[in-house]
């Protein structure tokens, strides 16, 4: 960004020269020096704004403004500790609630079982009615089963494995507590 620096250093001089040249032109057109300079300035417009806009062409204005905003935010938080504390507390509660809900969801739904080929473990549930099978039904499943290597039932309430019926020895399921 050397070019940027050089361009901006020259800008002041260029603007000065510009206004002087315009002033000179105006004098040659018959204006008084004072009038000529005033007219030149008016024609050029707002010098400060021009410089600012030119600088913006080269700078990462958004980054500078972002830093300003961050600094301002930190300053205001330090100035109002009560507000800062409230904000932090709200954030903590909000984030904690989300973490807990997600943790439960992950443990129950998203996490795969800790067994070999966990992606091939399926949940059986009846087509109609509730999501649970009665114990005799669970026992019936392995009998006519040609699809699954084994079937495992688990008592709702977590009292452990009710029924294990591996079709062959390839897969043995171990229910995690």
């Amino acid at each position: 960004m050397k070019r940027r620096k050089r361009m901006l250093e020259d800008l002041d001089r260029d603007i000065r020269e510009h206004i002087q040249t315009e002033t000179q032109d105006n004098i040659e057109r018959g204006m008084s020096p004072e009038e000529a300079r005033y007219a030149a300035m008016r024609k050029f417009g707002n010098v400060t704004r021009v410089k600012e806009e030119t600088r913006e062409v080269w700078s990462f204005v958004w980054l500078e403004q972002l830093l300003q905003d961050v600094r301002f935010a930190l300053r205001m938080l330090r100035k109002n500790p009560d507000f800062a504390l409230t904000a932090v507390l709200i954030l903590v509660l909000g984030i904690a609630a989300n973490v807990i809900v997600f943790g439960v969801l992950q443990a129950l739904v998203l996490r795969q079982l800790d067994v070999p080929h966990a992606d091939r473990v399926m949940t059986l549930q009846p087509k109609e009615g509730g999501p649970f099978l009665a114990y005799p039904e669970v026992r019936d499943v392995p009998d006519g089963n040609t699809v699954f290597s084994g079937v495992v039932g688990n008592a709702f309430g977590g009292r452990g494995i009710l029924h294990v019926a591996p079709r062959d020895e390839q897969v043995s399921l171990i229910a995690s507590p």
Partner: protein, 120 residues
């Protein structure tokens, strides 16, 4: 100059200044003030350039690589920055010119029927 100011001077449309600068530089490298003068002169003083707005535009064009700048001496022996069209800028000028022609043509086609209605 001031006589025309109230009558016929038109503010430049957004985005057209870049095009006019590129076109002005086609005739050879000049300094900032001369660009402003050239635009005013070539448009018979109809186009009003707020001269200061040239500079952000010039820097923008330099950043895009369409023009380059070098130090030189102006006609009244002052040090000044001279701006020069680059090959890339020349291509851009051709592109922008054809775009402008299309735009101007399209707007004219839309406006012309309205004009005729007004006359009749």
């Amino acid at each position: 100059m001031s006589t025309k100011e109230q009558r016929e001077r038109i503010e430049l449309l957004q985005g057209t200044l870049d095009l006019l600068i590129l076109r002005t530089l086609l005739r050879g490298p000049v300094h900032g003030h001369a660009i402003a003068k050239a635009i005013e002169f070539d448009s018979d003083d109809v186009l009003q350039v707020e001269q200061g707005s040239l500079y952000p535009a010039l820097h923008r064009l330099i950043k895009r690589g369409w023009i380059s700048s070098e130090d030189g001496t102006s006609e009244n022996n002052r040090r000044a920055k001279f701006y020069r069209l680059t090959p890339k800028g020349r291509r851009q000028l051709a592109l922008e010119t054809s775009k402008w022609d299309k735009l101007a043509g399209a707007i004219a086609r839309i406006l012309r029927p309205a004009e005729q209605e007004g006359e009749s």
